[in-house]
């Protein structure tokens, strides 16, 4: 199955000219949010990149990430990637079914043991494996088994990366993320619900191009795509600075495209490439279409205190907490006040009249 030809040889075999290859490198660099000056480096790296085998395992997921990948807006890239990478196993996309699927999976794993990239989407139910078991093997066991031979694991989507929706409280299935389970393999988290299509292929291209784990941030996300804070790159930031906010989704401010902070935008604490790379071939992204960012590439974004409550609003009802404080305070206060009055009264009772004779220091 594995083809040992280099990528460049394969391109030429398909009649792609050097000029075509340069265009491919330029757009890949742009996709990987690398500076255009990197194009020569990418071209050199791509020339002798080997064609890795890729296994895609889906666990507790909504297939949103797969949808996102296939809709990635650079089919030439995707076609090439699919031609370049041999996607040996993907439940939804592969034609085979039944035992044939399992055989293909085991075969791919044995043949490329230690070299294949394992892509996971969906969280893994650790609480009760019965929640998600495929052909008798629980997701948990399948993940552990597949991880043994993986060169690297890419957790695609917030579910695989941080537990996502299944993990949201009360987390009935005891869902866990890949990094909670696999501790001994390099893991790249590509969160998002779903991640931007280009970001998925971008991470794969980057891994394929440079052959090693890209620089990750504290949450295990590639800095190339998740190093930028949405709020910093948002084109509506000037309105935030001027204090021009949309108060409701249909008021004057919203129509003028003002900042959506007061409508719950979580941009300030979210790291992703939506503000620049945008979605659907750069058409738009949530804020541009008038809705606040949900912070979907952040862990626990489902429990971040409501999509429509301003980020700075506390996630608890402080008014009623203050009420509790007031009530308890009053009770204790009255007691403390009574103690004070008692002490003062006692002091007054025990007052010994001071006369001029006892102004001198006694015992």
């Amino acid at each position: 199955m594995a083809d040992d030809r280099t990528l460049a040889e394969m391109l030429r075999a398909q009649g792609i000219t050097r000029r075509g290859f340069l265009k491919f490198c330029a757009t890949t660099a742009s996709m990987m949010a690398l500076s255009p000056a990197m194009v020569p480096k990418i071209a050199a790296a791509l020339e002798n990149a080997r064609r890795p085998s890729v296994i895609w395992l889906s666990f507790q997921e909504c297939t949103g990430c797969t949808e996102s990948l296939t809709r990635s807006h650079s089919p030439t890239i995707e076609k090439l990637i699919f031609d370049v990478i041999s996607l040996d196993h993907h439940h939804t996309l592969m034609a085979a079914s039944g035992e044939a699927v399992d055989e293909a999976l085991n075969e791919a794993m044995e043949e490329n043991f230690g070299k294949y990239i394992l892509i996971v989407d969906g969280s893994i139910p650790v609480g009760n494996p019965a929640y998600s078991t495929v052909s008798g093997i629980s997701n948990l066991d399948m993940l552990k088994h597949a991880a043994e031979g993986a060169a690297a694991i890419v957790s695609v989507g917030t579910c695989a990366a941080y537990g996502g929706l299944p993990y949201a409280s009360p987390n009935p299935t005891g869902a866990a993320s890949v990094e909670d389970i696999i501790k001994d393999k390099p893991i790249i988290n590509v969160p998002g619900c779903p991640p931007i299509p280009v970001v998925i292929t971008g991470v794969l291209a980057q891994f394929l191009t440079f052959g090693k784990i890209p620089e990750l941030d504290s949450l295990g996300r590639p800095m190339a795509f998740y190093g930028q804070n949405i709020h910093d790159r948002c084109y509506r930031r000037p309105f935030y600075e001027r204090g021009q906010f949309a108060e409701t989704f249909d008021d004057e401010g919203a129509k003028k495209g003002w900042c959506l902070f007061k409508l719950g935008c979580k941009g300030p604490i979210t790291y992703n490439a939506c503000a620049t790379t945008k979605w659907n071939e750069g058409t738009s992204w949530p804020v541009e279409s008038g809705h606040g960012c949900l912070g979907c590439s952040q862990p626990n974004f489902w429990d971040m205190g409501g999509f429509y409550r301003a980020l700075s609003m506390p996630t608890v009802d402080l008014a009623n907490k203050a009420g509790i404080g007031l009530a308890a305070g009053a009770a204790i206060g009255v007691a403390a006040g009574a103690l004070n009055r008692g002490k003062k009264a006692k002091a007054v009772r025990e007052h010994e009249t001071v006369t001029v004779d006892d102004l001198e220091k006694g015992a």
Binding site: D217, S218, L219, N229, H231, D232, Y240, E241, R242, G243, F245, F261, K262, P268, I269, Y271, Q298, P299, N300, D303, M304, G305, R309, A310, L311, S312, M313, P314, T315, V316, D317, L318, A319, K321, A322, I324, G325, L326, A328, G329, A330, I332, G333, V334, A336, G337, A338, N340, R341, K344
Partner: protein, 220 residues
């Protein structure tokens, strides 16, 4: 506990606990103070002094002693500048107004964030100058206890972390916002048990001051 969990904790339970302790502490303090009472003044007074009491609440802020030295002029001006900067940052920044809206239900217009940023910087610089003054001035050096420096830090940290959060300095915004809210929680928790209570008690204190003078016919 990664930075996001930290932020979620501090925005939720953290603030809740801090608010309870703050309100509880201040309520107990109010009872402790006002249940002591004050003996009625039986002397033949020139007036009830109530009006003079309220007058003093306002006039005392502007009062500059004619015999002011460099130190008192500094303390007076620094006090004004710092408090204006602090209150501008707290009450006129859009995100903060959202916090108050979630508590009291109503909101008010905000100032553009660069102005708040400027006010915060001014407040911080003034606080540093006041700290230097507290360390070098003989009277302040004599009077100052550990609590004065703890309270200084408790007041400075929210300004610093707020500034860092706005400018995404050094750490990720998530972490710094978490630290900012944590510093506010600390300020709230220690508020009722330190000289910070002056923020509330000074109005009553000034009232008594003006009232007791007004009873004797002295107008401030």
């Amino acid at each position: 506990m990664n930075e996001v969990d930290f932020l979620l904790w501090v925005r939720g339970p953290g603030l809740a606990i801090a608010s309870i302790i703050f309100v509880l502490g201040m309520t107990v303090k109010m009872f402790e103070i006002f249940m002591l009472g004050r003996k009625k003044n039986l002397a033949e007074l020139r007036g009830s002094g109530i009006k003079e009491g309220f007058r003093t609440i306002i006039t005392r802020s502007g009062h500059v002693d004619t015999y002011s030295t460099r130190n008192t002029r500094f303390t007076h001006i620094a006090g004004w500048v710092f408090h204006i900067g602090l209150f501008t940052a707290i009450f006129l920044l859009a995100p903060h107004i959202e916090v108050f809206k979630s508590i009291v239900g109503f909101a008010w217009p905000a100032l553009p964030t660069p102005i708040i940023d400027f006010a915060t910087v001014i407040a911080m610089i003034t606080m540093l100058a006041m700290l230097f003054h507290r360390i070098t001035n003989p009277v302040l050096k004599y009077l100052s206890t550990g609590q004065d420096f703890v309270v200084w830090a408790l007041t400075f940290l929210p300004l610093l972390t707020g500034y860092m959060a706005y400018h995404h300095l050094f750490f990720s915004y998530t972490l710094v916002l978490g630290l900012h809210i944590l510093s506010v929680c600390l300020l709230l928790v220690f508020f009722p048990f330190t000289k910070l209570t002056h923020a509330v008690t000074l109005f009553f204190a000034r009232w008594y001051n003006g009232m007791m003078a007004g009873e004797k016919g002295v107008q401030q």
